[in-house]
Symmetry: C2
Amino acid sequence: MSSPEATPAAARTGQADRGDRPVRAHARRNRETLIAVARATFAAAEGTVSLESIARDAGVGIGTLYRHFPTREALVEAVYAAELDDVTASASTLLDAFPPEVALREWMDRYAAFVATKRGMVDTLRAGWASGRIATPTTRERITTALGMILASGAQAGTLRADVDPEDVTAMLLGVFLSTAASDRWEQTGRLLGLVMDALRPPGARTPPRRGGDAAGGGGNRPSP
Amino acid sequence: MSSPEATPAAARTGQADRGDRPVRAHARRNRETLIAVARATFAAAEGTVSLESIARDAGVGIGTLYRHFPTREALVEAVYAAELDDVTASASTLLDAFPPEVALREWMDRYAAFVATKRGMVDTLRAGWASGRIATPTTRERITTALGMILASGAQAGTLRADVDPEDVTAMLLGVFLSTAASDRWEQTGRLLGLVMDALRPPGARTPPRRGGDAAGGGGNRPSP
DNA sequence: AGAGAAAGCGGAGGGCCCTCCGCTGAGACC
DNA sequence: GGTCTCAGCGGAGGGCCCTCCGCTTTCTCT
């Protein structure tokens, strides 16, 4: 995802390529092809996906796939990270539109929906999350940042606790997804997220009736998709 | 332990029931050897364990291992289930000794500690939990039953919510373990269990200062980044 | 005791994972 | 353009997973 290495202004070749060409063109293209094929394959497949089939479909050798993505997790994370922007970006959008505690629940739902579409890679994603191999520096941090923004806003408004570490909430969410997002336990995911919400409200502010709509003045189930 | 149907060890009693085929003595011994070897190997190993090495160490062919345990999960669950009794049994013991909400937290801690010792099989356990392949009929149910006992007791005492499904709490716990029990995030596990406790208290009964910036009771010395 | 049946055994085999390494050709420099 | 060089390529190879099937051993019945 990043181009760390910096070739010292190799720009002056015949055709200037926007000033920065650290990687060979063909290598970059291979990488992109691999991600594209992987995304499609992961989305289509239900169970495990063979990396060799991805390499084959992308028209490269298995060695090339492993050159670009040293582990299965690396490839999965690349696909996952590439699509995560929508989720993280929606945090501030939601905060503009709703009070923090409503925005939080809504954001959780969106994240859950996002994860639910990752069928073909859930297993790997799961293993990677759990072991910290995935998302420690990159992805998880982005999630935690988005989450932290909402939590801080709610803390200021007094509708969310101020004494929780956003990282703990991230872990909690991943845990909920890990334990429910695999099968068809979609409603259970919703109930568990409700429990998480309950844990995040300040002592006095819990809404007694649990089922139904949490309301809070704005309709528990948001109108948006 | 499962032991689907244990015919009286009619290894070679003169008369055996004809409707009911006893398991051959040697087959049973093989099964037990496999579980014993697997338990030792899983406990010793840190990462993934080769099933072929288990079969080899048990002195049987790989085919025999797969005959007894058709999937890796089946073997892991057999080992796991065999040691689960201590945990489930402790539920009623704890209820005798403590008020329900204290017993609940204590029980969670014990379960967490138990899972934490399962190092060599966490990955498989995780995948099995998440997919429902493990523990759906057997193990998970035992956990849920133990948990339900504590929850019911707390509900009656008014110190725990009455409107939560024990199965949801089981899923929540598994989620917490799934997302933290892998690495050394032991203290995070504690904090997350604290959040779960908060979610399970009835609206009025939350203890305001207890957890938070500092820690829950014992040694939450986690530095927040 | 002897024989027949089938439960149970073991390992070959095919597929996937990931590593390693010799070769090719893109790009830099002349 | 021509040459040099190493980034990048591809696939062979070793290990593990799991299946399949012919052979062995145990148990039952006579």
